[in-house]
Amino acid sequence: MEAERGPGSAETVLETIRSRRVTRTFDARPVEHESLLRVLEAGRWATSGGGRRIHRFLVVRDPGTLARLRAVTPGMFSAPPVVIVICTDATRAAEELVQLEHDPTTWIDVGTAVMNMMVAAHALELGSCPVTSFSHGAVSVVLGLPPTVEPELFLLLGHPVGPTRPGRQTGNAGKGAVSFPAGLVWWEHPGGAAPDPTPIDEREAGRPAEDA
């Protein structure tokens, strides 16, 4: 099915992006399997440097494993029902001739995947939280990861408890004119101010005549 595109669907997507917040506490309800699959699908469709797909999504739902994972993950403030561990598969990277030590796309692809999944989770009325504050060595032990699989980032997933905190950088929080926090966007050169949105023709028409 061809996805609808245009101003109407764009506003739906943009509003989903704008209203998403990090969820730090989750209630005890499990994540429906269909919703979990759709979140994973969103990760699957994220951009991947050169289409090489060197990452793996490890889904953890076992309560005992989650408890041990939390013990070695100071950035996990509560126990969610699901953790998706985004891992780099060094074996796959070698097959694809990726230079893990030098290629920044290997990390960028973690970010694109998790962002897609967070937006999808929000659209599915789930809460999510990315976490990188964990001991890589300890997590590898807890999850029984082989040395060729490196945990990069956790995505905590579940039903949020209470309202989520507003973001630090809110910019324009709703529809209408787009605005940004000062200094976030540079135009044309470092520190460049936003251009005058008036079309050039109209600006020319309003300009006083110059001396010959």
């Binding site: 730090r24 100071p74 504050s133 964990f134």
Partner: protein, 138 residues
């Protein structure tokens, strides 16, 4: 020296001829907190400096939560509001040193008040000096 002072001085929480404090944290809970502290220390190697402050107060919150169900009524009366307040304020932005510092100083003061109350109301000024003469530990 009160029985409570003796308990605090003993690594096992009791003496042969004095009453021991009840154990309020299980071995599993202690191991989980141990793992949290060790991994938090590792993360301090790479994370922003203010995260370390958060990790410690978060560990205190986790310890308080583990202690709460088996604590005495006296300690529960201290721990319940402690947990409520710390769990809210620990999420404040620690880069706001004035606000975060005020929260931590107040929490420290209240914790000390509970310690003193449990020891029978003796303030630190009346405690005997330790082996180092009561100076700073570092």
């Amino acid at each position: 020296m009160t029985a409570h002072d003796a308990d605090m001085a003993s690594p096992h929480g009791g003496t042969a001829d004095g009453p021991a404090d009840p154990l309020v944290v299980s071995e599993s809970e202690a191991l989980i907190l141990l793992a949290h502290l060790v991994t938090s220390a590792e993360l301090c190697l790479t994370e922003p400096y203010d995260y370390g402050i958060f990790r410690l107060i978060d560990a205190a919150s986790r310890l308080a939560a583990a202690m709460l169900p088996r604590s005495s009524g006296e300690s529960r009366a201290f721990l319940e509001p402690f947990l409520l307040e710390v769990d809210e304020k620990k999420m404040w932005d620690a880069r706001d040193r004035e606000r975060y510092g005020s929260f931590l100083r107040e929490t420290s003061r209240r914790t000390a008040e509970h310690l003193v109350a449990r020891a029978g109301g003796r303030s630190s000024a009346s405690l005997e000096p330790g082996p180092l003469g009561g100076g700073h530990g570092g």
